[in-house]
Symmetry: C2
DNA sequence: TGTTAGCACTCACTCGCAGCGAGTGCTAAC
DNA sequence: GTTAGCACTCGCTGCGAGTGAGTGCTAACA
């Protein structure tokens, strides 16, 4: 007994119906709603086969069938290779982006919101990472008599800032020249390389030892801490779905959404594909046993890769989600892109 | 019939019990658990009076009594003036903060988390605002051949950054000198003042008109957008409380938490007091009809005020919350404080 | 006059049970 | 190979009795 064309069509119908209704679907429903030209009895036989093949589960004897993770897998794989992902919601997305400021984190936040409102699931956007960001410019600015703000600009366009406190009073000109020296010495280096280089620089500028040491500390914590911004949208969407009618489930899901670090790990796992779909157990996250995660990557001008993800129930509208994500991925790639001033210039 | 000492003690007992159990409390419970030396019958009479006075509600005839918003109000007012707010959880809070990086937003996020985990409610932290932040330093850094990153440092220690795109190729030295000029011209000004000043500056530096105009745009959007970071912690805590067993309520609460702008408005309303407690209807937010909001302010070195808030069910543990917030407020004031290097130096 | 014991009454909540109906698997006929 | 028919399963709904916490009232007591 194998998987023939007809079985596949029936399976597809079951998945479609289940995605829509979240109710176990019976043989009669299929034979009536999706005119297959087959009676319910025949469908029943096929369904029985499909269950044996592992594509369907039966919550209990007298209920309909529910697609298994394996079924979704098949469905999605087929979708990914065949569909070639349309991008018709392009306009909506684009419109959403017009007239917006371009601050990195705001764009990410906004993207997460758009993504979640367009899909009605939960969306996550991670900033570009990958190759270690390289320092472009360092600037020390006094904020009070004995405190300076260190601003580090990296090629990812990300700005990191931290306060340095010193005992003696700060001299504006000195800060300027130190900034200049630091930029000169460290530009092009990664944060960790810069940290290694610091002792030497301090040796060469004993007069500013305290300030420089403070700066070294800052770099060190920056490098270690490395908490990238995690943008999330539509966490409350999840509560719309009967899958999360159970409070306990909802709670554990939400609290997972709150631990950004872990979330970033989960979403950030990159495959070699531009799209990844992890279904149910494939997520490897107990709290997400009946969730699916769809991720896609976007690419910035300097080749760094960011990730966008949508989290929904396993019976999510994969085709819709993939479509929207495809579009969003492109948008972000353009926005952070190679310097073609297409999208931005529209503003 | 007035509010005498005994009535007050009984009311207090009812509130305490209800805060603990979230179950309507009956006369017997009070007479047994809190030894008042009174029989349940007497308590019943008093409770009947208290209900008439508006301090108690009765969900239905054969249930116990539940404190009304008016009762909490009384309770809290008494707490605020009498208690003088202890700060014994000081140590725990302090320990939490040690060894952390000092990036503004991270501190806020962290504060929100600590606040929520210490109270088991939802916590919100808003950055300092009030007096318009003033520009301290402006730096343009090239990020690609025809894009520059504008970094604006304000006296609030906040850094704002945005990308400027230009058509011609950027010259590093030119950027440097433009940065210098801009800093010279605009330092000490507020964003809006700076925006007004821009046309004049552009006239004086025709050679860099495009760049400067781009910068002007950035300032403009920055000034308008003005989306301060809103740190939230423990949203999922809310689901622990039977008040939110109803999915629909939970959903609307969570989705309110997601609309940061609105949330910031709600939390950010400043009274003249350092502590504000809004109970139930007093919040003015329909979604929070049975929530209370406690806010406190912290103050930065330059006199700007930030806000921290805790949101919980009306029957929240006010004394605990006020205590924790008192401590947290001080911590933050110190941290962003007048330059005394107490807390930070510990690191 | 304030306090208390006693009692009737209310009413949400739980539990068990019958009935319903969607859905299945099997069998026999087409 | 397909389909009609039928017996069977079993979760879900609704209903009615029983339970118990809690009240208000009255009458007795200090």
């Amino acid at each position: 007994m194998g998987m023939d064309e007809r079985k596949f069509r029936i399976l597809q119908a079951i998945i479609d119906d289940y995605i829509l209704t979240a109710v176990p679907v019976g043989s009669r429903t299929i034979s009536k709603k999706y005119d297959m030209g087959l009676s319910s009895a025949t469908i029943r036989n096929e369904m029985s086969d499909l269950e044996e093949l592992g594509y369907l589960d039966q919550p209990h004897v007298s209920a309909g069938r529910v697609p298994s993770a394996k079924a979704y897998r098949l469905y999605v794989d087929q979708l990914l290779q065949a569909g070639r992902l349309r991008t018709d919601s392009d306009m909506a997305l684009r419109a959403h982006f017009l007239g917006r400021t371009r601050q990195m984190e705001e764009v990410m936040d906004h993207a997460a919101q758009v993504l979640s409102s367009l899909t009605n699931y939960t969306a996550v956007v991670l900033p570009p990472t990958g190759t270690q960001p390289r320092i472009r410019n360092i600037q020390l600015v006094s904020v009070s008599d004995n405190a300076a703000l260190a601003v580090i600009v990296t090629d990812a366009g990300v700005v990191r800032d931290a306060v340095i406190r010193v005992s003696e009073e700060l001299d504006q000109d000195a800060l300027y020249s130190v900034s200049r020296t630091l930029t000169g010495e460290l530009a092009g280096k990664t944060l960790s390389e810069a940290v290694e280089r610091m002792p030497e620089i301090i040796r060469g500028m004993q007069s500013q030892a305290e300030l420089l040491e403070g700066f070294g500390d800052v770099m060190n914590t920056q490098q270690q801490a490395n908490h990238p911004h995690v943008a999330i949208g539509g966490t409350s969407n999840m509560l719309n779905y009967p899958e999360y009618a159970d409070m306990e489930k909802a709670r554990s899901f939400l609290s997972l959404m709150e631990t950004r670090d872990r979330l970033a790990d989960i979403i950030g796992q990159k495959g070699e594909m531009s799209f990844t779909v992890r279904i149910g157990p494939e997520t490897g996250v107990p709290e997400m046993a009946d969730c699916s995660i769809v991720t896609a990557t976007y690419t910035t001008g300097n080749g760094q890769q960011g990730t966008i993800g949508v989290i929904g129930p396993t019976r999510m509208q994969y085709s819709r989600v993939l479509e929207v994500m495809n579009t969003m991925g492109r948008q972000l790639s353009e926005l952070f892109g190679t310097g073609e001033d297409d999208v931005l210039k529209l503003e």
